[in-house]
Symmetry: C2
Subunit: 394 residues, 2 copies
């Protein structure tokens, strides 16, 4: 009897994707019924090429490094599978004694997960582990990877805000990842500790972007406080649904756009004559280990453990989701549950209206409260002389 | 008798500029002869407006927050002084009982330091505290602020390298600050832990940038390994000395250039047809506390302490510099010394030839050895499955 597990990573990585891998390995060891924990090297392509590596070969004392290794230790892919590819999988799984298949990824990967499940017809148990910095998977309250990327953005905008305030630089636009869903962009609100703190404006892909309103907002804040920090989604579109930045280049397969941060900074310089700069940390934020959220890391481990547990309990065609528990002191506690994979396949969850302010240039307090526990332990305190000045005056 | 100190910050901040401020406060308290430690709020403008804040009013237990607060807690400025401004200073200092004036900044600020010293004619002792992420101040081996910004860049490129390798993204260009001096760009070399690690190409402002050679280098690496991480200085210029990126906009006072990272990524897409993206962390790297180098932070504190000590010992018109000590085990140890301010005023120290490879697309091992101790404690280890694969094969 050889019951083996196969883990497959799909799509862009997160700072804690390997923490889920660690969770799978831990659960496999603890459950006792698993012989090998294969990682498919390079995502689904690795499955078709039977390029597997048994993760139990990593010495036990070195496994914890997975908790603090960003990107994907077993690789990943954006390789689209064809119908014939799915048909080959049951044979490959049988050949390698694979009884449990776990797919870690976003809604595209969950689509693959559902299709592999269908192709296997119950002979293999196929379970999804949610993962995305975009937090755009349906049904689950939130997704491992999001809390750490959110903490990176909040912490970084907090630091940039100090820099801009101290110099003063006039206008600084920070670009956030998330082309269609504004969850990550919105998380920058957690940089605010006091009234007047950065970010001063937040522009989300859920609202049409109006350049004239943007310039009005920037001008008003500049006149009042002399410095403005803007956080803008990389996916901003105008009222007609066209990206605000013109395509830089088109190939047969893809369109390349310029950077939103750089474009908006240029707009401020040209139209308002105010000095501005754009910053685009981009994948620097998707791979940042120092900004990992502890809550996120622990939940990523849990998602990996629960996925294997579900598969070993006979479940298939489900994804592990998170929901919040009611607690007496209203402190944050989350528990996992099993979501039918059909409910999450290819669906993109965007930021709901109640989390966006009326003018579409900020998020609401309700969003900040929802997001705050996910970044785990908050962001550092800085010294502010204003505090002591007030104490002296009062 | 009231001997007061005045600290003035100039130019762009660093992650440890406030650590030097902490050092000044600590030295003032320990020396016993100081009544007030004024910070000039908003740089030299704060001096002229007599906008001072006594930093001893920060409760002792909260002062350590200065060690981990980025940007400048007392503000800064790029405000150019006129001759008449210098003439006003002696009177202002006298009025506030200021005996010691410490200027913390780069070579521009050291110029101001020298001029204030001249204007005071020996009645006030004026000492410079070096600070710049660019590391371009003359005479001193290195400058507080550089080690932390260097650690940020090395650590971030290490993380980005994992991300790019795992997906695989094809080409990623990371832009580094430092318009004329390549010290910071060069520090990205410390991201390399094993052969083949990112960054694969490093382009410095000290060498003319040749687009054709760049495309050749990227193509060759792409063909060989499928993914290429490039680190490029924001200040790249062609053989005629013109910035490689066309000006986006010109005002009467300034020229605004596009981003080098975005430009080079676009070039790879257009000319080679290879998918590429650019990242520009920009001031995110100048303000990053999680990436502070411990060595850098401690040296920043020391520079602040030594500056006040020098002033109190009667020195004026000097800057605190660092030099390396010979040690038996060749481990890193640095000591401070006093540099005549005339030797550092407005001089920009660029990367010497022996630190740049022949083709101008990388740095040398000598540079890596020079830079390595400054980032203090290195950058995190990540898990690499290749290691275990090799062990199994051998």
């Amino acid at each position: 009897m050889e019951d083996n597990v196969l883990v497959i990573h799909g799509g862009g990585p997160t700072p804690v994707i390997n923490a889920s891998l660690y969770g799978v390995i831990k659960q496999a060891v603890e459950s006792g019924g698993i012989r090998k924990v294969y990682g498919a090297l390079g995502g689904t392509r690795g499955v078709l090429e039977e390029d597997f590596f048994d993760l139990l070969r990593i010495p036990e004392e070195e496994r914890e490094l997975l908790l603090r290794t960003p990107a994907s230790a077993i690789g990943s892919s954006r390789f689209a599978l064809e119908d014939g590819d799915y048909a080959k999988m049951p044979g490959i799984f049988r050949k390698h004694g694979i009884k449990y298949v776990l797919l870690n990824g976003g809604n595209g990967t969950m689509d693959t997960c559902g299709k592999i499940d269908a192709a296997c017809g119950g002979r293999v148990n196929v379970v999804g582990i949610p993962k995305t910095i975009d937090n755009d998977i349906a049904v689950t309250d939130h997704t491992p990877g999001y809390g750490s990327a959110a903490r990176y953005l909040a912490g970084t905008v907090h630091e940039v805000g100090e820099d801009v305030r101290s110099l003063p630089i006039h206008v600084c636009v920070v670009e956030a990842m998330g082309r269609n869903a504004g969850w990550l962009t919105a998380a920058s609100v957690l940089a605010r500790k006091e009234k007047g703190d950065a970010p001063h404006l937040i522009y989300l892909p859920e609202r049409p972007f109006d350049e004239e309103e943007f310039l009005e907002d920037v001008k008003a804040l500049y006149d009042r406080q002399g410095q403005v920090v803007v956080v803008a989604s990389e996916g901003l579109r105008d009222a007609d649904g066209n990206p605000v930045v013109e395509p830089v280049f088109r190939t047969e397969r893809a369109v390349y756009y310029g950077d939103v941060s750089s474009y908006l900074a240029g707009l401020v310089v040209r139209r308002l004559g105010i000095k501005a700069r754009g910053e685009k940390p981009g994948i620097c934020g998707r791979a940042s280990v120092p900004w990992q959220s502890e809550v996120d890391r622990e939940e990523a481990v849990l998602a990996g453990k629960e996925a294997l547990r579900a598969a070993m309990e006979g479940c298939s065609g489900v994804m592990i989701g998170f929901r919040r528990k009611e607690t007496p002191g209203k402190e944050y506690r989350a528990e996992t549950f099993r979501v039918p994979i059909k409910e999450v396949m290819m669906y993109e969850k965007t930021l709901p209206d109640e989390y966006i302010n009326e003018r579409g240039n900020d998020v609401t307090e309700a969003f900040a409260q929802w997001c705050s526990p996910l970044i785990g332990g908050g962001i550092p305190e800085f010294i502010r002389l204003d505090k002591y000045k007030k104490e002296i005056q009062s």
